[in-house]
Symmetry: C2
Amino acid sequence: MATKLPPRDAKTTQRLTELADTVVELAGRRRDPYVDVPTRSLSNVKYNKSRRFIEMGRATNRRHLFNLSQAKSYMQTMLVASGVTQLVEQGKTTSIRGLYYLLKHTIEGTKEETFSDQSECDPVIEDCEVLLNSLREELHLYAQKRGEMVGDLVLTDTGDDIDCSRMGSGGYGIPSIVEPEVIQFKRCDAKFILHVEKDTVWQRFNEDKFWRKHKCLLTHGSGQPPRGVRRLLHRMHNELKLPIYCLLDNDPWGYYIYSVIKQGSINLAYESQRMAIPDAKFIGLRSKDFRECQLSDSVKIALNDTDRKRAKQIAGYPWFAPKKEWQKEIKQLLDNGFKLEVEALISKDISYVTEHYTPARLKAKDWLD
Amino acid sequence: MATKLPPRDAKTTQRLTELADTVVELAGRRRDPYVDVPTRSLSNVKYNKSRRFIEMGRATNRRHLFNLSQAKSYMQTMLVASGVTQLVEQGKTTSIRGLYYLLKHTIEGTKEETFSDQSECDPVIEDCEVLLNSLREELHLYAQKRGEMVGDLVLTDTGDDIDCSRMGSGGYGIPSIVEPEVIQFKRCDAKFILHVEKDTVWQRFNEDKFWRKHKCLLTHGSGQPPRGVRRLLHRMHNELKLPIYCLLDNDPWGYYIYSVIKQGSINLAYESQRMAIPDAKFIGLRSKDFRECQLSDSVKIALNDTDRKRAKQIAGYPWFAPKKEWQKEIKQLLDNGFKLEVEALISKDISYVTEHYTPARLKAKDWLD
């Protein structure tokens, strides 16, 4: 490559080159080439109490070229590494589906395919992320785009100034790749971030211009927020020093979304340090809200067996287990025997959630940590 | 209501008032109140050859208050009408989930709920749309938001000017409600619209700045486009006089997405006149592309039984049946025995689709109608 790479890409390229060098070096010494891939299984994941997020342990699996059962996955690892090298050098990005098509071919002189389907390629991509200590986004791979933002923030996205306070009813679609090379923050007059679970709730807050009145950024992630949204929240929290409050459903799924935003996910523990936000707060809905907000029986949704099982699992997570307030919250959910969606507050008034519930909770600092 | 309503809302309110008046009038004459709801079933849907879209027939079902089997649905119809009246008067919008919560309650003096669950409310909302001859959006109800746009268009969204050519990598999130009260077009330098199926493909086109080079608007709808995207495409096609080209997968699902954009959907036939775009073109992928683009066997995905069945059904649609080119296209898909995703073109080159495939098809006017 004659053109100079951006600093982040230069770092990624250096790691890719180092990986390639070890292969060449071992081959030159007529040794069996191998790679040590950090183990991505539950056994190698732990909660780091002082950093307050889930992280990977130090266990690795060695993957040899000259081993019949490992040769194919060794080849696939190198193939993915060479594919992302191509992306980085060309300055292009693609989806994991795109990378799969880029790399899929019949190996010359055989009837063997490099990958039989996408599900064979995805874990190798994750292997490469941990192997190269690079986020997927740094490997120029993007995920599906979901989630929007509005509020008093001006940012630059690939050279375009975006004023998130002038986005009408549509909002700014949060991209999948939000690394500093793509997005820079220019000016922020917001004091905090309100992250809501669903776009329909987000629309209520946007229509009522909650973010203008309360000087906040308003985001949603269409359920479990995708990587781009989590990474952007992480950057805004750390770089713009904005506290984050999460408004999610009162059910195990809402608790779990909060858990992932706050402590990281078990599956993708290696991303935690660049995604997890240990200081995020949970402002609701809470199990006490049915009584406190004087809701009617009509809005109750009965817990099913899966809900009860998941609630107990979540109560046992090492980051929730020592917290009395969380134990009380989850116990009350189970005692209630029903769950509540944020939309249930509409039964009080269409704008109850924006005009009463959320302002009152913020004012009273009434949230779970 | 003291404040003056916007013209569209005034029209909706007038229809709601007329509905209420018939009830009052019948009750005053001591007659059994009823409503005639246009029939929303396959039997009452037909393809209008001259208008070239699917539309509803004139059949209606009478719904009486004083009929044990109809009283509940009569009550629900009135309840939904009163709920949307409240929304229109307050100048607020909500999701169908929100309306459900707004209307759900235990009927006084009984243990009967107005709606037992969402699935009981949704068809009544659709009834009210046809009954009032109003789009859901005119009833102040929004659907899930999906889909983005970028290109040389400046629009005004609830008072904010949005320059769709300055949206970075994120794009403008197309709102669910895009009626003229919400969105006005200010300036358009684009010559056509390229609508792609998936956001991942959209990102490739956006990254390669295809829309700048070819002076087009670039949209996607995350699969089957939601109502907001269809309605915006319809408005841009008719008001800005922009031709629309669809780039979809070479499979029955891709054909079906095209069919809905072009002719309307069977389920929601009453929306066709404000959503269908009979002049939309299908530029690919085509069944001939495997050979024409010299793709490798690796990218083939075998058709399954459902695919074959769906393909035959679609070939029999009255708007595809008389078209030789479409019959040939679908026959070749079945003869091929495999389908192709747009991403399969990545196997040629990451930017093959933006630099070769699409420009060549547009230049040669090589599309299906």
